[in-house]
Amino acid sequence: MDAPLDGTSSRRGPVRAPQSLVAGLGLIGLGLFGIWAGSDLDYGSLRVIGPGLMPFWLSVGVGLCGLALAISGFTHDGAPLQAFTLRGPVVITLAIIAFAVTIRPFAIGGITTPGLGLIVAGPLAIIIAGYAGTEARFLELLTLALFLTAGCMLLFGDMLNLPIPIFPTAVVQAMTGVLPARTMLRIAAGALALAGLGLLLVQRRSSRREPIEVARHSLTT
């Protein structure tokens, strides 16, 4: 829903419930958008309902709800607008997009991204996503990424047999006939888990020297 963010400053004045007003305007926008988007469809008659009838009346309904809500923003006291942070939504969206475009070849415009498989897309998504929070630490995220990717590979690829690309397409092509796919998957997952363990040990050792860090390392508890 494309809720406009204007009206943030109108704390005083005629607006008594800014949240309702903006929410209402957003719904009106959605309703109008729906009416426009369904305008090319045939309404049909009551006897033979066309494909456009429901979308039209639903959009009208959404718009009317929005109108009522917006009006109630002037007549009833209500909640103020809530604070937004951009960091979370932006970084999480980036992480999701990163996963989507690297898991398998994906064409945007004229460019096609290389399919890198879960073994790359997974850690990429985890590490990027981690920075949505304010207390991200790279090594910790990397460790998490290694373990989780290994786990997901075994769970989804090996145990559940779901059709998810695990390795980069180039690697798959190079290794066809050399190693069975499943063996390769298991070896890779094992390697990832080992690397994760190694990282964990390194972090433990360094944290032992700094006693304050121990309490924070809850990955190991």
Partner: protein, 501 residues
Amino acid sequence: MADLLNNLGLGFSVALGLQNIALCFLGCLVGTLIGVLPGVGPIATIAMLLPITFGLDPVGALIMLAGIYYGAQYGGSTTAILVNIPGEATSVVTTLDGHQMARQGKAGIALGTAAIASFFAGTVATLLIAALGAPLTKLALIFGPAEYFALMVMGLAFAVVLAHGSVLKAVAMILVGVLFAVVGTDLETGQERMTFGFSFLTDGVDFSVLAMGLFGIAEILRNLDQTETRDVVRERIGRLLPGLADLKQALPATLRGTAIGATLGILPGNGAVLGPFAAYTIEKKIAKDPRRFGRGAIEGVAGPESANNAGAQTAFIPLLTLGIPPNAVMALMVGAMTIHGIIPGPGVMTKSPDLFWGMIASMWIGNLMLLVINLPLVGVWVRLLKVPYRLMFPAILMFCSVGIYSINSVPTDVMLIGFFGLMGYLLIKFGFEPAPLLLGFVLGKLMEEYLRRSLTLSRGDPMVFLERPVSAVLFIIAFAILAAALLPSLRKSRDEVFTEA
């Protein structure tokens, strides 16, 4: 009666098969594991774990999903008691007295009471489903499209009344949900609707994509905004099994809670959510000393928990007999069933009795398993509760992405969960509840179909909905409760029930 026993016998013979028992166990375990993570409710848990069940046969898949559901519910209560964070709306009330008990060093007894009360409620609810299943299915067979349409309108009316907050916002959410449902190719004419030429919208918005975005990703975004204040109990968990005196105190509350929860759970439109609130209010009203409530009264755990579990289970009744999901979790079940090629509704019982009765029997087994596996594993759950959120959300995000990708193998689905996540975040920020949207989405597709069919049958006469007695009554109920919800006095008491505490 003999029929019932026969049917249950068939059910248990299916559910007690080695594979199904294992799946039920696995479902309960994994469900609790994910559900216990603070900020991950049952809807997100089921949406996340849905892909895991794809490779199974339909019976096994549904048994496992049901297990995941109970597990997630139970996990929600555990977080409510130990961390004071309700995993979902229905365990909000458990935090009141459960967490107080935990602070007094009686966490174990609170957890034990919750588990035992839930198990009792689950047993009663299972029997109720088994008993009501057959007659309601027969009733469903005389339902025509007009009645179905009326029933869904009534369900949505209930959903509006039972949603938290503004009635207007709930109506808007349902309409938006139905609006999303019409996106995609129109089934009757084959015309594309509101797809804007995007090929990934041709088949419409995928249900699991919407659910995972609105409940998985949006929840991450919302939690990121809040600085984490997690009040993990530092006291000892203490004894797990409640003593005889505790049980005596909890028993009447459990009985009342079960009755309330089971009744409300059958209501279309998320009646189950009201159960724990109503049970708590009643316990407090009839208690000799109401001041104990909020300070660790065991009835305040037993009542709502039994109501919660009874309602969670009887919510299956409208789904299994009429094919109408009463709440968002059941809507997910519809999604899961459709993926396995089962159309929920009266046909399930006659066409695949092993699935129908097997699932019912597995409900009881699942409840028993929860009792058996959860109490000894409390220590593990406590440890899980200590996992900091900064490590949890990247994991949730990755699991959602992998899961959603593995459903259809299209990267745009992954992007769409991001889009719906942002949308859900905006909705939450503007005081909308996303659950009615999801319900509207699922019912929307069915509603349009039934509306068209009934109008075709009546040759375009809209009076058909009022001329047929059953549908007329359902419509009257729907409008009556909607009107009642708008009355100021009733609105006040509705708000009171939800803010009780």
